[in-house]
């Protein structure tokens, strides 16, 4: 099969790999019909996530048709499914609590020890996201082997729904939703979202659906801010204004009730410490650039809530711990418990309450995936979301 393959920093290519097989009883094989490039794939592309090896197949947002099933799978051949990027067994202590991205079994024993060393506890398995999260071959491919297929994939029975309406159930839509949930939004709240990428936009949309009175989105790409405005959000371009002062003024001196960092470890920004962080990343010292989060912690009101869906991988320097403690902030974060949200969000899509297609800017054959990566990274104003179509 053909699959988008990592060869090194900023070097991905579509190569030929052996077709996947049923390995474990609960497996299914999916023929991918649509797959997307995620903002977090760019962290892999930029080489800032450890444990990505040459030859790895990337991609964790995908859907398709069931073509083969193991004896323990509940799926049937021909079914159309969207697959969560988090691989979860469904039976361990964590899955039982619906904390699927903390699944205690899905990361194979020899791989999980990397994250156990780094974080104190092992992470779950994820598709196409480094050997730290299991080394599972990803979804930017013609075929994917899906473990625990009786738990993860959601069957799309409504043929009227296009792939593009439901594809983002695999990651960014539930991730945006959980980000808003972690912000513990109350009616009347003002919510500030850093990053008008797909997750930030879906978080803003979700915050609206949770009855936030105002949602303010911060970015520096005019087109992305236009998309946010299209959702009924107010916008701040951090190239033009001082974000903290602007938020303070816009909220009458109180500050936003909740802040969402949908940027993560490769934040742009002007702060001196960010420059130092970039320098360190460049020379391989690997500190996470966290300028969006640092700004958010200072901007949020006293007793407010901080939600972090943006991806961080390691350590960061000069973290404003004092603001966190002295202001009495609450923090919610984590990889998304996708399986917890798929049914509910699918229903909202069918009811027309959520539209996910507005942010798709480009559709490409899988064979052009490398161009997709380069442009998604380098032309962020216009390339807001890339959907790849294998077999075209």
């Amino acid at each position: 099969m053909r699959a988008l393959t990592y060869h090194g920093k900023k070097d991905v290519r579509v190569d030929t790999h052996p077709d996947p097989e049923i390995v474990n009883p609960r497996d299914a094989i999916i023929r991918v019909t649509s797959t997307a490039i995620c903002g977090s794939d760019l962290h892999l592309y930029d080489g800032v996530i450890p444990g990505v090896l040459s030859g790895d197949i990337l991609g964790h947002e995908f859907m398709g048709e069931v073509v083969e099933t193991g004896s323990g799978s509940t799926l049937k051949k021909g079914q159309r499914v969207v697959v969560p990027f988090t691989i979860a067994c469904g039976t361990c202590f964590f899955c039982d609590k619906h904390q699927y991205s903390a699944c205690d079994n899905s990361n194979p024993v020899d791989k999980r020890e990397i994250s156990e060393t780094l974080y104190g506890q092992p992470m779950s398995g994820l598709f196409g996201y480094s050997h730290m999260t299991g080394g599972y071959p990803g979804g930017q491919a013609e075929y994917v082997r899906v473990p625990y297929s009786d738990v993860g994939p959601i069957v799309i029975e409504n043929d009227d729904l296009e792939d593009e309406q439901v594809l983002f159930l695999s990651d960014i839509l539930p991730t945006g939703w959980m980000a808003a949930e972690n912000a513990q939004i109350e009616p009347g709240d003002t919510v500030a979202v850093w990053g008008a990428g797909p997750v930030g936009l879906f978080a803003a949309q979700s915050a609206k659906l949770m009855n936030a009175a105002r949602v303010i989105v911060i970015d520096h790409y005019p087109h992305r801010l236009e998309l946010a405005a299209g959702l009924g959000c107010e916008t701040i371009n951090f190239h033009d204004v001082d974000v903290r002062e602007a938020l303070n003024e816009m909220t009458g001196g109180i500050g936003p009730d909740a802040v969402i960092d949908a940027v993560g470890m490769e934040a742009h920004g002007f702060a001196v410490d960010n420059m130092l962080d970039i320098a360190k990343q460049t020379v391989g010292m690997g500190a996470d650039r966290a300028s969006a989060l640092k700004q958010a912690l200072l901007a949020v009101r006293k007793g407010g809530r901080v939600s972090i869906p943006g991806v961080y991988g390691g350590m960061t320097d000069k973290f404003p711990l004092g603001a966190l403690m002295e202001k009495g902030l609450k923090i919610g974060t984590g990889q998304t418990h996708v399986q917890k949200y798929t049914k509910k969000l699918l229903a909202m899509i069918e009811e027309g309450k959520i539209d996910t297609t507005f942010l798709i800017s480009h559709r490409l054959p899988l064979e052009q995936a490398a161009d997709g990566y380069a442009n998604f990274r380098n032309k962020q104003n216009d390339w807001t979301k890339v959907v790849l179509k294998p077999g075209t």
Partner: protein
């Protein structure tokens, strides 16, 4: 490498072994409080080295977990470097262990002690090439979280520190092996399979 070194490397693979019951309890390390003695910074007990690990297994029940383990012929399903275990009479079992570069070695073990549903301890029989003891204990986890399963292995390190270093290099280091075997046991019990990111069947193993 000397045969004895190979054998002892394989012991870790075996992840059997018990100890703790005998030698360590008569001479426990001081100052560990409520923590298991093996977590002390000193991990040598005379000529024995001790490794151990605890996991919590949500399901099935403690009784079923015990029964699965007590049938030693099941162990190769989750112990990576164990080819086969077969009963050889008188309550003894012959373990066939993968020996790096040497095919396999065998060791015969006997049950040292057993409490139904709670504990199984075994040791290599007198005169074995491998000198090891092991035990696995099953306890109800607090808060209805299932069963805490603790595996403790004692073995005589091959050729001292150097032997462990060599074993580590070969990824057969006993602590790593015991830890990974126990986690495979947990996965197999909770999910019915052992997770892998391989896209193809391992045709040698299957």
């Amino acid at each position: 490498m000397k045969p004895r070194a190979q054998a002892a490397i394989a012991v870790g693979a075996l992840a059997v072994g018990l100890l703790a019951l005998t030698r360590s309890s008569s001479n426990p390390p001081s100052g560990t409080g409520g923590a298991p003695g093996r977590t002390a910074r000193r991990d040598r007990f005379g000529r024995y080295r001790v490794v151990g690990k605890t996991v919590t297994i949500a399901k099935p029940s403690r009784t079923e977990l015990f029964a699965f383990w007590r049938d030693f012929t099941n162990l190769p399903r989750f112990m990576e470097n164990l080819n086969a275990v077969k009963p050889v009479g008188n309550g003894r079992f012959e373990w066939e262990i993968v020996a790096p570069g040497e095919g396999s070695v065998t060791v015969v073990t006997e049950i040292a002690s057993e409490r139904q549903g709670e504990l199984i301890a075994w040791r290599s029989v007198e005169g074995s090439t491998i000198d090891t003891e092991g035990r696995v204990a099953f306890r109800d986890a607090p808060g209805d979280r299932g069963t805490q399963v603790e595996l403790v292995v004692a073995y005589s390190p091959p050729a001292g520190t150097l032997g462990v270093a060599i074993a580590k290099l070969l990824q057969r280091e006993p602590e790593m092996q015991a830890r990974r075997d126990l986690r495979r046991f947990k996965a197999l019990m909770e999910t019915g399979e052992i997770p892998t990111s391989n896209n193809q069947l391992d045709r040698e193993k299957n």
